[in-house]
Symmetry: D2
Subunit: 138 residues, 4 copies
Amino acid sequence: MELAMDGPALEAFVAREFPQVAGDFAVEAVGEDLVLRLRVADRHLRPGGTVSGPNMFALADVGIYLAILSRLGPVALAVTTNATIDFMRKPAAERDLVAKVRLLKLGRTLAVGDVLIYSEGETEPVARASMTYALPKT
Amino acid sequence: MELAMDGPALEAFVAREFPQVAGDFAVEAVGEDLVLRLRVADRHLRPGGTVSGPNMFALADVGIYLAILSRLGPVALAVTTNATIDFMRKPAAERDLVAKVRLLKLGRTLAVGDVLIYSEGETEPVARASMTYALPKT
Amino acid sequence: MELAMDGPALEAFVAREFPQVAGDFAVEAVGEDLVLRLRVADRHLRPGGTVSGPNMFALADVGIYLAILSRLGPVALAVTTNATIDFMRKPAAERDLVAKVRLLKLGRTLAVGDVLIYSEGETEPVARASMTYALPKT
Amino acid sequence: MELAMDGPALEAFVAREFPQVAGDFAVEAVGEDLVLRLRVADRHLRPGGTVSGPNMFALADVGIYLAILSRLGPVALAVTTNATIDFMRKPAAERDLVAKVRLLKLGRTLAVGDVLIYSEGETEPVARASMTYALPKT
């Protein structure tokens, strides 16, 4: 497997394309799997100190998107067409979330990935997600 | 069908439980269906002026949650266990989104709803979502 | 909305392409919505006399597929890429199932539909499904 | 992790509860993961010789169900409440399918598992599924 973009290149892409959220995410590993951290801050939290559903959705979505870019290079026009999330456990309060991403398919027109999301340091996932992306014609 | 909470009661509940997002949402109808508006602001937008995926997720999630509350009253402990979204069209730039919510099941332990999301004034939905909630034991 | 195939044309298509299951399904209405009946027989049942999950999956899948064909004509190469089903109630024992199908998107490369499935004569759905199909290039 | 049922006990359970399909499935491993084989026969095939979607659905459904039973023992009343499948590649013609199942959550009222399905001998999955089960009160 050859990588088209490494961690710093992916973070630079996010900073350029999604400046509003760029500081939220850190790429911790790129390769067969991709590991993405959500640096949890007050704005991500629900009352009780746990990360909200939309922020877990965003973590999974950005994670799979970056896994696609790591193979294809900076194709800014990939769009999410389907997303499914299972919320299985309450995240630990005020702790970062770590997403482990696998790319299951990278076809000509569609890509599919799945994700397990963990509260940092825990072994049981808080959520599972799978998403499909439509790829721009080349 | 009897309602346990009307539109103003639902908005007051959101303001109390989710103060960070309360101003974002307006309940436009409650009854067999529920209609919820996302008042689109700069913080909801991606480059290009369209609403981001996580914000559409949040609109669907809050919409179905409020439909459950409209029947059961203020059960703050209902939690989303599964969410599926199909993103079908690009939202119109800088226009409010309107979610039309149906409650398909309201059981003792699980509730299921689905949603069509429209850019205001359009007839083709931009997204479709269905979600399951675990209800607190009573 | 113009129809490319009516009910008898759709049933003839199923008989030709899927001879193993052709007798199972009856197209009851085609138009803005499509209504498809599963003629329940012993082979569809689980112990207890209710229709099994895979047979409800098949009903939803065939229903949305036929709704696509009703618009596009006999494009035998459309393939299901994603399916989500919520099983909400136990079907009534040994009663036919009726699927009400809406086509939500019919794009150049992807189509999306959703379905409510009812035990005949009931008003509460037993299941809800949404599916995505990749359309052959034309 | 302690097992409540091993492979032969699971196969005996399927033979007793689902006699119509019992010969279709072989439990090849039980432990942290569960491996279930679909012995492909003519009745599982679509024209072209590939396994149909409903049969892949059934394989995933039975696989996760058996993974739950391997931990809990023979709780015949667990019911599938939600299923999501991504069909990613065409299965190889007339070849068995092998499902690799992980149990991601085993709570008091809900269990969640996911599955990768392979054509025997291939390294790229043909499908991915995740499913939720409601567990009977104990």
